[in-house]
Each structure stands twice: as structure tokens, then as C-alpha cells.
């Protein structure tokens, strides 16, 4: 009998060894290939169950993780709400992350290399790793002014500090409430997300960074810059300003928005042409400068490339192979020229900063969970867009736009403001976009701003002044006060 029992014992040993070998494979050798499968929610849940770091604006957390009693352990709350949604983005269990939540995820989640020391300390203390905090460059007053100004409208505002590239305001309207995408109720989150995605007003679109518009007359600054750089004109030089301009090589005629001559005579100074936003003058100037010089100048301001703020912006475009008529139209910001609000803010900031393009950025510093500074962003030069003299000339002309031209609504008592209005024609039948870009004070500029209102209203150049300039004024006032 014992012989049989021994044999039974041997088969039991084989069974247990098979189990042990299989477990060793599952838990050690092949573990990664199994845990990385999409059906496994653990890695995601683990990240979501960590104490995620704050997103801070001027010593106030606009996004913070609050401890809860459920499996996800922490609830992400956005005190910034819809006003800051274009900045923070959201961090959803179901839909992943956007905005700073996504761009700075490794820091916020605590998995960044710079947080290694903190992770080890936490591990030794038997606690879960925590996330670091991200302090933003946003000026809360400017952000609030922009948000107030855009209320009830569709559009975007970007404000920059010209000398550094710090983003002072970044607003998209209409917006969404990121709090409703982070609640720990999958059904509610799904319902809200779907509703936002179906909304024709596209509340979840990050307009200032990713929506491109024809820049309209604001692009005349680029054309003027190209002409000044080429030495073709000076601000005081007389330029043609006819009532209509026969587009070269085309049967079409370009008219002024004034429905006649821009001024009393057939020629006016360049400064005057910019002040009254004379279409024919800049179309003719664009034709003289040529497509290549225009494109080169546009590229020097950041067109045909993108910005990482750290979210990646959409690329603003200057058309690739325009004919002469198309070049003339491009010179006044029509045809296929496409620009984001961020891009136009960069144009204004570069002129304000003596022709230097600074890389725009949102993250001022990264803090460890114990609030020691891990990284401080230093402003970086992207490139020189125009010579200092050109920038000065452009600034002078822009000041006249506000002081006695189309941009009167941007005036601030006691402070010299430089700016440029724009009204961009869109598809036949829909209303044009209203633009204003500018900066203040003219001497030692502290803020550059771009405002765009989609399908804002009247076809006249005044709509840029009527709709966009007041918002720009309030944003600049908020920064300068």
C-alpha cells in the first residue's frame, strides 16, 4: 500500500510544482505583459488614488485633490471652474486628462523624476507617493477680466508679459465645468461629457490655443513689419490708398471697409494707413513686398510652427503658394492666413519687446509636495522677429491706432496703449470675427493681449473696436493696476 501512496504523493508534488511554476510566471516573469492590458484598470486607479498636486495661481489652488472615502480616494476639485478650464483642462477617470492636468501630469501625479526623493521618503514612511504642485504664470485679475469680457460671447483671450513670455490670461468661451468631469459617478460624467461634445458652441474646445481664425487686419502689422524690414517704407512715407484695388492677375476688385477712399487723398502715410486700417494700401504693399518676404516675416513671428506652453498650440499658417492676388489678400489677413489668438498675442508681445519673440509659457515653477521649489522656469528667447527700429516704428503706429484711429475703445486714461483692430471676413453668410491685439504701456510694456470674438457682428472695421478692444482694455487695466 505504501508504494501506491508514495506514487500518489509524487503526483501531488507534480501538481503543486505546476501551480507554483505557473504562479511564478504570472506574478514575476510575465506579470508586465498581463498588467499592461487594457482590461486592467489598476495602473489607472493607482494614479487616480494618489494625492495629486495642486495647480496654483497667485497662491490660490485652482485645482486640488480632496480626500474622499471611496475607492478612488481623492476627488479632483477645480475652484477655478469654467473660467480656468482652458488652463487646467480636466482630469477624468473615464476621459483621461487635458490642459495642464495632462501637460504636467508626471509632476502632479508624483511620478516625475524630480520627485524621486520625495517618493523614497514617502515609501520609507509607509505612505503613498504624493504629487508636486504646479504654479502658473496666470494673473488672476487679468484672467477674471478676460472671462467677464467674453461672457455670453464665443471667443478667446490671451494675455502675455512681453518681456518674458509669461501667459497672464488664457480664456476660452463658452467654457465647461471640469468639476463635472471628475465626480466619482461614471454615469454623471459620461452624460455631461456627451452633452458638451454635442453642444454646437463647442465648450470643450480650447480656443486660444487650438482654434485658428483668419487674423484680418491685425495681420497688417506683419505686412507693415515686412515692408519696414525690407526698407521699402517708413511710417511717414506716402503709400497709395485708392478706393479700390484691382487685384493683380484677377478680375476681382478689393474695396475698403470705408466704402470709398481711406482718407481724403489718394496717398496717405503708412502710419495713417494703419490707423484707419486701409485695405488697399496694405494689399498694394503686400504685393510689393511679395509672398516670400511676407511668409518669412510671419514665420519670424511664429507662424508655420507651434508653441508649447506646455500645451501644444495649433500651428498658425501663412499660405504656401499664393498667386499675386492671393498674396495681396493675405497681406490684409484674409485668403488662407490662419492664426490662433496665442499667435497674435505673440505678434503684439514681440513688437512690445523690441522685436524679440519670447517663448510663451504657463508654468512658472514646480513645487515638491513639501513646497520646496524644484524647478523655476526662466524665460527663453525664441528668435528676433524684427529689428528694434522696426519694432519702435510699429509701436508708434499702433499707438496712433488707439489714440486717433480705429482702436479708440482700447484707450486707458493716463496710459499710452498700442493696438490694432481687425475684422476678419469668414465664409459667405456668416458674420466676421472681431479682433484686437495690443499692448500697454507703450513705454516699458507690461502686458500684450489678443482678443478674438467669433462671428462678432457688423462687417465694418469698427466691430473689432466695438467688441474686442474693450475686453483687451479691461485685461490690460487689470494687469497694470
Amino acid at each position: 500500500m505504501n508504494k501506491q501512496i508514495r506514487r500518489v504523493a509524487v503526483s501531488m508534488v507534480v501538481m503543486f510544482l505546476a501551480l507554483a511554476a505557473n504562479l511564478s510566471y504570472l506574478q514575476v516573469v510575465g506579470a508586465d505583459s498581463i498588467t499592461e492590458r487594457a482590461g486592467n484598470k489598476r495602473n489607472l486607479l493607482r494614479e487616480y488614488s494618489r494625492e495629486r498636486g495642486h495647480i496654483v495661481v497667485a497662491d490660490q489652488a485652482i485645482a486640488a485633490s480632496v480626500k474622499t472615502a471611496d475607492v478612488i480616494a481623492y476627488l479632483r476639485q477645480y475652484s477655478g471652474g469654467p473660467e480656468y478650464a482652458a488652463v487646467t483642462g480636466f482630469y477624468s477617470y473615464i476621459y483621461g486628462a487635458t490642459g495642464i492636468e495632462r501637460a504636467a501630469n508626471t509632476v502632479l501625479a508624483g511620478s516625475d523624476d524630480s520627485l524621486l526623493l520625495d517618493r523614497i521618503t514617502q515609501l520609507l514612511a509607509g505612505r503613498k507617493p504624493r504629487g508636486g504642485a504646479v504654479v502658473l504664470t496666470i494673473n488672476p485679475d487679468a484672467q477674471a477680466a478676460a472671462w467677464e469680457g467674453l461672457k455670453g460671447r464665443t471667443g478667446a483671450v490671451v494675455a502675455l508679459e512681453p518681456h518674458t513670455g509669461r501667459i497672464l490670461a488664457l480664456v476660452s468661451s463658452p467654457s465647461f465645468d471640469p468639476n463635472l468631469l471628475t465626480v466619482h459617478n461614471a454615469n454623471a460624467v459620461q452624460a455631461y461629457y456627451r452633452q458638451q461634445m454635442r453642444d454646437p458652441a463647442q465648450p470643450m474646445l480650447n480656443r486660444p490655443l487650438v482654434r485658428s481664425y483668419p487674423p484680418g487686419s491685425t495681420f497688417k502689422l506683419v505686412t507693415a513689419a515686412a515692408a519696414l524690414e525690407a526698407g521699402l517704407v517708413t511710417p511717414d512715407a506716402q503709400v497709395e490708398a485708392p478706393a479700390t484695388f484691382q487685384l493683380p492677375g484677377s478680375t476681382k476688385k478689393l474695396r475698403n471697409w470705408q466704402k470709398g477712399k481711406c482718407a481724403g487723398s489718394d496717398t496717405i502715410t503708412l502710419a495713417q494707413a494703419l490707423a484707419v486700417s486701409c485695405n488697399t494700401s496694405f494689399a498694394i504693399l503686400g504685393d510689393e513686398v511679395g509672398a516670400d518676404a511676407l511668409r518669412r516675416q510671419a514665420r519670424n513671428f511664429g507662424f508655420d510652427s507651434n508653441f508649447q506652453v506646455p500645451m501644444i498650440s495649433a500651428t498658425s499658417r501663412f499660405p504656401a503658394n499664393p498667386d499675386r492676388a492671393q498674396t495681396s489678400l493675405s497681406a490684409i489677413g484674409q485668403f488662407d492666413v490662419q492664426a490662433t489668438a496665442l499667435q497674435m498675442a505673440v505678434v503684439a508681445a514681440a513688437i512690445a519687446d523690441g522685436g524679440m519673440v519670447m517663448n510663451p509659457y504657463l508654468i512658472d515653477r514646480v513645487l515638491a509636495p513639501d513646497l520646496t521649489v524644484l524647478r523655476q522656469t526662466t524665460p527663453t528667447v525664441r528668435n528676433r522677429a524684427v529689428k528694434v527700429e522696426t519694432a519702435t516704428a510699429l509701436t508708434d503706429m499702433m499707438e496712433q491706432v488707439v489714440s486717433r484711429g480705429t482702436g479708440g475703445n482700447a484707450r486707458i486714461t493716463g496710459i499710452a496703449v498700442a493696438g490694432k483692430t481687425g475684422t476678419a471676413q469668414t465664409a459667405q453668410g456668416s458674420k466676421p470675427h472681431a479682433w484686437f491685439i495690443g499692448f500697454a504701456p507703450v513705454k516699458n510694456p507690461q502686458v500684450a493681449v489678443a482678443v478674438v470674438i467669433e462671428n462678432g457682428g457688423g462687417s465694418a472695421e469698427v466691430s473689432g473696436n466695438k467688441l474686442a478692444a474693450p475686453i483687451a482694455r479691461e485685461v490690460m487695466k487689470a494687469v497694470l493696476k
Binding site: A31, R37, G39, R42
Partner: protein, 478 residues
């Protein structure tokens, strides 16, 4: 020259060892439950204290009963069983917390805790263990009840098929509902049939071993000797087809084949059994969708969105890695039936390979103690019974853990001592009681030996029976 050891002292030493190991398990319970509570809700819960008290009560009952009724039994068997029970209880408690937290989050009604219920069942199981040790003073008496026990076992096995009694849960008809309570009679049948098979084959094994007929020059058993094997095969198929319970079917047939082999010593029976098992499996696979589904899930667990039961269990096991997430720090609630069929997956997740291998070693050690007892015993019935009991534990462990870890297709069976389930727990404690009874019989010093160490005068002339009674240990003086 070594002095002969006083067997009284030997028995006492074993019980001391046992008491020490049982206390170690009780300490482990305190540490484990506290670890779960502190890493989840951050305070010690009242249910933890109740669970801990229940396990302590179990340990005390076992220690006392052993001193009274099985003082020479192996000192490792009961602590291993209690330890497995404890690991299961800690994990069930941990899952209770996970489910309650989830219910609170989603504003669902908070489910009742299962750990205190399981702990209550553990006390009932240990009382059943004590009762068996009290009632069955001599294992050979069970042999007289061969037919009663076998028939009772078969009846229990088929009980869920009685209309009005049986309840189908998750596609398998293996529960019987009595007054609101659901019990799994297959677990009771397991114990009864293990005794039945051993008793039957003790009596007829020799006859089956004789190969009297010849087919094409090869010695084979007589046709009538096939009847029992055929009968068990049909019953197993019946369980598979009518109750859709693959696990139980596999367990019983496997057990019968092993006992048949051990009692006859004929490899032919083992080969025949294996052939019939494969035939039965093929029939099941070809004809029944529930068998096909299980095999498909085994072959492709990650098919589709990768959220099949098997896949969800594997994610947990794999995520555990070498040392696991730590008690209370994993996500075992993501695994379906984490407290019952898949408890091994949730243990593997939170305790890692270290914990899962430790559990395997506990089972292996328990089986080894059983097989060792089988080899020590001098009577065929005792020997076969000890081996059968060890085999049942080993087979059940292999089938369920193998299923959860995708070594073999998943079949529904409880993990002995670990899984949530009262009838399963009680039955397993009865298995332990029988093993302890057999171990005591195997290790108890023979009367002559006792005589030598206790008397200095000439050998008494009383009969051996009277001697045994004369030296039946009285209650321990300590």
C-alpha cells in the same frame, strides 16, 4: 544509550507545539486584521475584533479537544487549517471594506460584512471538528457504515436536483435552500464519499486487483469489476450535465480513480480511469455550451475587451508581483467573486508571489501530513482514508487554484478554508477532524510500549483491550 521517551510526555510535547502554533496563528490574525483596517479606514473596526475573537475561540476549542481526544495526533495539521482559515478571513474582511467603501461612494445600500459570518461558520466548523473527534473514537467504526455513508453521500450529491429544493446560482445547480439558508450539499457529499470510497475499496480492492479475464492475451479485470467505476463515472457525468458543476464532477471522479489505484495497486485502473475521464470531458465539451464557454475562456481569456472573469483574476494576480500591493492597498474588488471562487487571486494581489506560494506550501504541507499519516497507519481502511482525505484537499486545491491561475479551465469550486462559504468550511473542518483522528491512531504508542514505560513489575495478564482502557489518558494535569 538513550532512555525510552515517556509517551505521555511525547503526547504532551506535541500538544504544546500545537498550542504554540495555534497561538502564532492568533497573533497573525491580530496583525493581519489591524494591517487591513489601518491601511484602509485607518481605525480598528468592531467587525475585526469579532473576527479575531472568533479565531481565538477556534484555537482554544481545538487545543482543548486535542488534549482530550487526540493527544497523539500530528501537531501541524490543525494549525495549518486554522492559518489558511485566518488568511481567508483577513482577505474577506478586506473585501468587505472595499465593497462598503464602494457602496458609500455610489450611494448604494451598504452590504453586510461577510467576515463575521464566515468567522461564525469557522466556530461552527471547529465545533463540528470537536464533535467528530468526540463521536468517532475509533476510525474503524466508520467502516461498518460503508453503504450508509456512500448512499448518503450520493444522495447529498444529487440533492440539489430535487425540485423545489435546488437553487441555481451562476448557472450551476449546487445549492440547496432551506429556510433562507443556502448550503452546498456537495461539500458534505465530499466528506461522506471520501469515507465511502475508502471503505468500499478496503473491502473490494483486493478482488478488483485480481485480473482474471483476458482480452487479446492481455490480462484485464472481469467485466463485473468495472461496475463501480462505471457507476461513479456516470454519477460524475450526471453532476456535470444536470448540475452543470464541472468542479465537483472532476473532484469526485479524480478521487475515485486515485483511491482505486491505491487500493488495487494496478496501474491499469489508473489508466482506465484517466481514459474515462478524458472521454467524459470530451463528451461534456462536445455537447454542452457551459463546458465550451469555460474552455474558450481558458484558451483566450483576454478576448474582446479583456474583462472576462478569468482575465480580471489574472490582472490581480499579475499585479501582485513578488511581494504584492500590501494588505488593503490593492484593488481586489475589481475581481469578480473575489471572496469565494477568486479569493486566491485577491490574496495573490495583495500578498504577491510570497503570499501565494506560502498558501500553496500550507496546502502542500497539509497534504504531506495526511499522506504521512496514511503511510504510518497499519490498517488498510485507515491508510486509504487518510490518503483519500489528503487527495481530496490536494485535488480541490489544484482544480480551483489551477483554474484561477489559468493552468486548467476554470471550474467552480471553493478554495479549501480560504473561500467564503459556511458549508464548505464546516466540511473541510470535518476532513481535518478525520485526519486528526487517523493521525492520533497512527502515532499513539502501542499498549505494550506504554506498559514498558509505566510499569516496573511483570507484564500484566489482562487483555490488550483492558490495557488500552487502563491507560486511556485522563485530562491533562497542566
Amino acid at each position: 544509550m538513550q532512555l525510552p521517551v515517556n509517551p505521555e510526555l511525547l503526547g504532551r510535547r506535541w500538544r504544546r507545539q500545537e498550542a504554540f502554533l495555534l497561538s502564532a496563528v492568533v497573533v497573525m490574525m491580530a496583525v493581519g486584521l489591524a494591517a487591513v483596517d489601518l491601511s484602509t479606514v485607518e481605525h480598528i473596526q468592531a467587525t475585526s475584533i469579532r473576527v479575531f475573537a472568533s479565531v481565538a475561540v477556534c484555537a482554544v476549542i481545538i487545543a482543548i479537544t486535542m488534549r482530550m481526544r487526540a493527544r497523539y495526533a500530528d501537531p501541524f495539521i490543525s494549525p495549518i487549517a486554522l492559518m489558511l482559515l485566518g488568511i481567508g478571513l483577513i482577505q474577506i474582511h478586506r473585501l468587505d471594506i472595499a465593497e462598503q467603501i464602494q457602496a458609500i461612494t455610489t450611494a448604494q445600500p451598504v452590504p453586510t460584512s461577510r467576515a463575521p459570518m464566515q468567522a461564525l461558520w469557522a466556530v461552527i466548523g471547529v465545533l463540528a471538528l470537536a464533535a467528530v473527534l468526540m463521536a468517532v473514537r475509533e476510525h474503524r467504526r466508520l467502516q461498518r457504515l460503508t453503504w450508509t455513508i456512500t448512499l448518503a453521500g450520493l444522495a447529498m450529491l444529487l440533492l440539489p436536483l430535487v425540485p423545489g429544493l435546488g437553487r441555481t446560482i451562476r448557472g450551476a445547480t449546487l445549492w440547496v435552500s432551506i429556510g433562507g439558508f443556502s448550503i452546498q450539499p456537495a461539500e458534505t457529499a465530499k466528506v461522506l464519499l471520501t469515507i465511502g470510497f475508502s471503505a468500499y475499496l478496503t473491502r473490494y480492492g483486493r478482488a478488483l486487483a485480481l485480473l482474471r479475464a483476458r482480452v487479446a492475451g492481455i490480462a484485464v479485470p472481469r467485466p463485473r469489476d468495472f461496475i463501480p467505476l462505471l457507476l461513479i463515472w456516470l454519477v460524475s457525468l450526471g453532476v456535470l450535465i444536470l448540475q452543470r458543476d464541472l468542479g465537483t464532477s472532476l473532484l469526485f471522479f479524480g478521487l475515485f480513480v486515485v483511491v482505486l489505484y491505491a487500493s488495487t495497486g494496478q496501474r491499469l485502473w489508473a489508466i482506465l480511469g484517466l481514459a474515462m475521464f478524458l472521454t467524459g470531458s470530451m463528451i461534456g465539451w462536445l455537447l454542452f455550451s457551459h463546458v465550451q464557454v469555460r474552455v474558450d475562456l481558458w484558451a483566450n481569456p483576454f478576448r474582446g475587451d479583456g474583462t472576462s472573469q478569468v482575465a480580471l483574476g489574472l490582472y490581480g494576480i499579475a499585479d501582485g508581483g513578488l511581494f504584492g500591493s500590501g494588505l488593503g492597498q490593492g484593488f481586489p474588488a475589481l475581481v469578480p467573486f473575489a471572496e469565494s471562487d477568486f479569493i486566491f487571486a485577491s490574496i495573490s494581489e495583495e500578498l504577491g508571489l510570497a503570499g501565494s506560494i506560502a498558501c500553496l506550501l500550507l496546502y502542500a504541507l497539509l497534504v504531506q501530513r495526511g499522506l504521512r499519516t496514511a503511510m504510518q497507519l497499519r490498517d488498510t481502511f485507515g491508510s486509504l482514508l487518510a490518503m483519500s482525505l489528503a487527495t481530496v484537499i490536494a485535488l480541490q486545491t489544484f482544480v480551483v487554484i489551477g483554474g484561477v491561475t489559468r493552468l486548467i479551465p476554470l471550474t467552480g469550486l471553493t478554495t479549501p478554508f480560504l473561500s467564503y462559504g459556511g458549508s464548505s468550511l464546516a466540511s473541510n473542518f470535518i476532513v481535518i477532524a478525520l485526519l486528526l483522528r487517523l493521525s492520533h491512531a497512527a502515532r499513539e504508542p502501542r499498549p505494550e510500549f506504554k506498559q514498558m514505560t509505566f510499569t516496573t513489575g511483570p507484564l500484566p495478564t489482562t487483555s490488550p483491550d483492558e490495557q488500552t482502557q487502563a491507560f486511556t489518558p485522563v485530562s491533562d494535569p497542566s
